[in-house]
């Protein structure tokens, strides 16, 4: 039998960037096929070509052995290809049935179409174990269930091949397990699954074969059973990488940052952080584990002084921070620096040249210029030096910030904050969208900083990262701190339960 999907000699360029170079890919029917690669390796471009967002400059797509032209997502759907995007394409106020019908209403009046959708959803639920309350509005559903709606949409439209783009990025570990269960059941029913991810653990857990992309080229396709995470990482990066940076045990010093009973309300009046207390000592990394959107961002922003907490207090080096002083400017002066979660929205100004982004938050420092005027030559020279230390590529301080890759942007932010000798560093998602090679570098820097006596509060949705780096781990769920563990005395299942809100008291 011919493969479900074949991509033959696909080429795609954007201007001078050759995003896909003679890429070949063959996906067998009824298998789960993983695609891994660093950011910018060309995975997303390749899948966008398969799903009709882009058209390849040259090359051929075969679906079940038949050459097929896919010029739009409609063509893809007609060819039996469905896609579940990382960011869901759902209409939140509508119900599950209505979302599934969207774009396939079947006529001007809805009733007939709706009956058909209900019947079909019932069948899918039976065949694949895809149980869901079809009359619930999407906004009420958990993220895991919303993803299930996306999968149902694709299956309803007759998808035989399902592309999932980083599906677990937004899920708790138990939700991810449920998703994998579902993917296995789809596979047993003869469906084909293409899984794009950068988490090697998931590749190992669920895929049958895995293809590795690097710099626009397909460098290898291997049977998952015959490979290992270090080998995949080496294929992705092109050199050996340490997946886990070693760190030594170290007794923490004096308390640097003490947060007591902090509560934060967002602009819409929703309680985001509820009664959170934590302490960060000198020479200690405290990790906050949690699924995205459970109050970690707001907690960091409140500590940094960007948001006014409704209740609670913050002490820095034993000194209480009064409300009037609790702003980003003062906190920076005290030595509390902040690598924000969202680089492009917060940590940098994408439209600025890099050397201007590299002084964000510090533009009033007297030594950066003469009186009210900034010394651009000096800023450029400063950044050029840091770019060398942090191996930022290309080392071009005058290049526009948005023209750097995610990993290099993150290095610019890290260099800016770390080189100002923080006493406490707040770090949000330090490696989101960052290549494996750069992750190793960033982890080393953070650990070196800890060894030098800096207190670090780390927020990450990557559980691996939290477990590798932290000395102590707190979990957050629904704005509350649900548990605390020593990193050496916990595991993924334990943290997964805490992240899902099963607290120590209830357990």
């Amino acid at each position: 039998m011919s493969p479900a999907i074949e991509l033959i000699a696909i080429n795609k360029s954007f201007g001078a960037v050759h995003a896909n170079k003679d890429v070949n890919l063959s996906v067998e029917r009824g298998t789960i096929h993983g695609i891994v690669g660093e950011n910018g390796a060309g995975k997303s471009t390749l899948m966008s070509i398969l799903y009709g967002f882009y058209e390849a400059d040259s090359g051929e797509i075969r679906v079940s052995g038949k050459p097929t032209r896919i010029r739009s997502s409609n063509d893809a759907i007609n060819a039996g290809i469905g896609m579940v995007h990382q960011h869901f394409m759902l209409v939140e106020p509508l119900t599950v049935v209505e979302n599934v019908m969207l774009g396939a209403e079947g006529g001007a009046m809805l009733r007939a179409g709706e009956a058909k959708v209900r019947k079909e959803l019932a069948r899918l639920a039976k065949d694949y174990g895809l149980e869901i309350d079809v009359d619930a509005t999407v906004a009420e559903l958990s993220v895991g269930l919303q993803q299930r709606v996306e999968i149902l949409k694709a299956l309803y439209r007759g998808a035989d091949t399902l592309i999932l783009d980083e599906p677990t990025a937004v899920l708790t570990p138990p939700e991810a397990d449920a998703l994998f269960e579902l993917l296995r059941s789809l596979k047993q029913q003869g469906k084909t699954v293409i899984l794009i991810t950068h988490k090697l653990r998931e590749i190992m857990a669920i895929t049958d074969r895995v293809s590795v992309m690097r710099r626009g080229e397909m460098v290898a396709t291997v049977e998952t059973a015959n490979t290992s995470p270090p080998e995949l990482a080496e294929l992705m990066v092109g050199r050996r990488v340490l997946l886990r940076v070693e760190k030594t045990e170290k007794a923490p010093g004096a308390p640097m940052l003490e947060v007591q009973n902090l509560s934060v309300v967002d602009a819409r009046g929703v309680l985001r952080v509820a009664d959170a207390s934590l302490t960060v000592h000198a020479g200690e990394i405290v990790g906050i584990a949690g699924v995205a959107g459970n109050g970690q961002s707001e907690l960091l922003e409140a500590i940094a002084g960007m948001r006014r907490p409704v209740l609670g207090s913050v002490r820095f080096e034993g000194q209480n921070i009064g409300a009037a002083d609790h702003n980003p400017h003062q906190m920076r002066k005290l030595g509390l620096l902040h690598v924000p979660e969202d680089r492009l929205r917060m940590g940098l100004v994408p439209a600025f040249p890099a050397f201007e982004s590299a002084i964000l938050g510090f533009s009033e420092e007297p030594q950066l210029g003469c009186g009210p005027i900034l010394d651009h030559d000096r800023l450029v020279a400063d950044l050029a030096r840091k770019m060398e230390q942090y191996d930022v590529r290309p080392p071009a301080p005058r290049l526009k910030t948005s023209n750097f890759s995610g990993g290099n942007q993150q290095k610019i932010v890290l260099a800016r904050e770390i080189e100002r000798n923080p006493k406490v560093l707040l770090v949000g998602q330090p490696t989101r969208g960052v290549d494996i090679g750069a992750i190793e570098f960033i982890h080393r820097r953070l650990i070196a900083l800890r060894d030098a006596g800096v207190g670090i509060l780390l927020v990450s949705v990557e559980l691996d990262e939290i477990m590798h780096l932290s000395d102590r781990i707190l979990t957050m769920c629904g704005g509350k701190i649900t548990g605390e563990r020593k990193a050496s005395e916990t595991n993924e299942q334990d943290l997964g339960l805490l992240m899902a809100g099963v607290t120590d008291e209830a357990a």
Binding site: V349, G361, I373
Partner: protein, 367 residues
Amino acid sequence: MSAPIEMPKWADTILVPAVSVVTAFLIAGLVVLSIGENPLTATRYLLQGSLGTGEGLGFTLFYATDFIFVGLAVAVAYHAGLFNIGGEGQATLAGLGIALALNNLPFLPGFLLIPIGILAAAAFGAAWAAIPGYLQAKRGSHIVITTIMFNWLASVLIVYLLVNVLREPQSMSPETRAFPEASQIPFMHDVFAWFGVTIPASQLNLTLVLALISAYLIWLLIYRSRLGYAIRVVGSNPTAAVYAGISPARIIIIAMVLSGALAGGLAVNELMGYQHRLLLEFTSGYGFVGIAVALMGRAHPVGIILASLLFGILYQGGAELAFEQPAITRDMVVVIGGIIILFAGALDGLFRRLVAHLLSRPKLAGA
């Protein structure tokens, strides 16, 4: 999903506006053709009238002076992410400030009058812009709406004051008495005459020099100073501003104050440089032209000077054209100006895409 348009800086700042202007002139030529006139003749009158004679050139530069000020005003606000539509009102109030200062301080030595008039213009313009700025910063009232409303308030206020309060009792027209002679900014032809050089007389006065100095200072402020940095951060990425500890509310008010003060330059040029009294409607809608000038000049002082020259040519040449070819009325000239604004401002993205595409072609072939 649209990829960002990347192209060399020279193409972005010179080539794209040039393509816009040429296209606008071609379309305007078609309009002229459609009313049965020869577009080439019309173009000749336009250029001849604005650049061909010393007098014409003087008038062109006089208008350009107005446009530089209002263009800079719009640009400063634009860098903070604000659309200041209120140049008309701010310039009107600046005119009021000039009249109040110059006609009520007779005891001051004459040489102080010019600086005081300029400061009064800046202060009144700034104050009139500060109110919408404050409302935007603290109350979230949209700056576009409030500045438009403040234009109307200014125009009604000035009519009331000129008719009922400031008018000379024996005068029939709604205008103040003439400013003291010492407060009049010298005409350029007089300045040249001091050095024994004779140039044709026109309205052009030394305010042009002030406009060019302002352009340089605004460049320094926006692109080199700490305050300008903060203004651009707020305009480009407000969330990053909060992260950086920059208060967007404070920056919004400062930017509007600067913007209003710059709009006051229009009143300086028109009233202290030419009319020498306060009269109705001296702003002539130039405050709105500032929006087009700033857009076309990409909110950069050099671009604004060039765009101001272009609009100066259009205004002066257009007046000559309407005089020489009666079929082409003033309204027709306004249409041509409108087409240029449309292409240089609103449809600019169209040509950016096109030019970027054409520029990237050869590279692709070579890759």
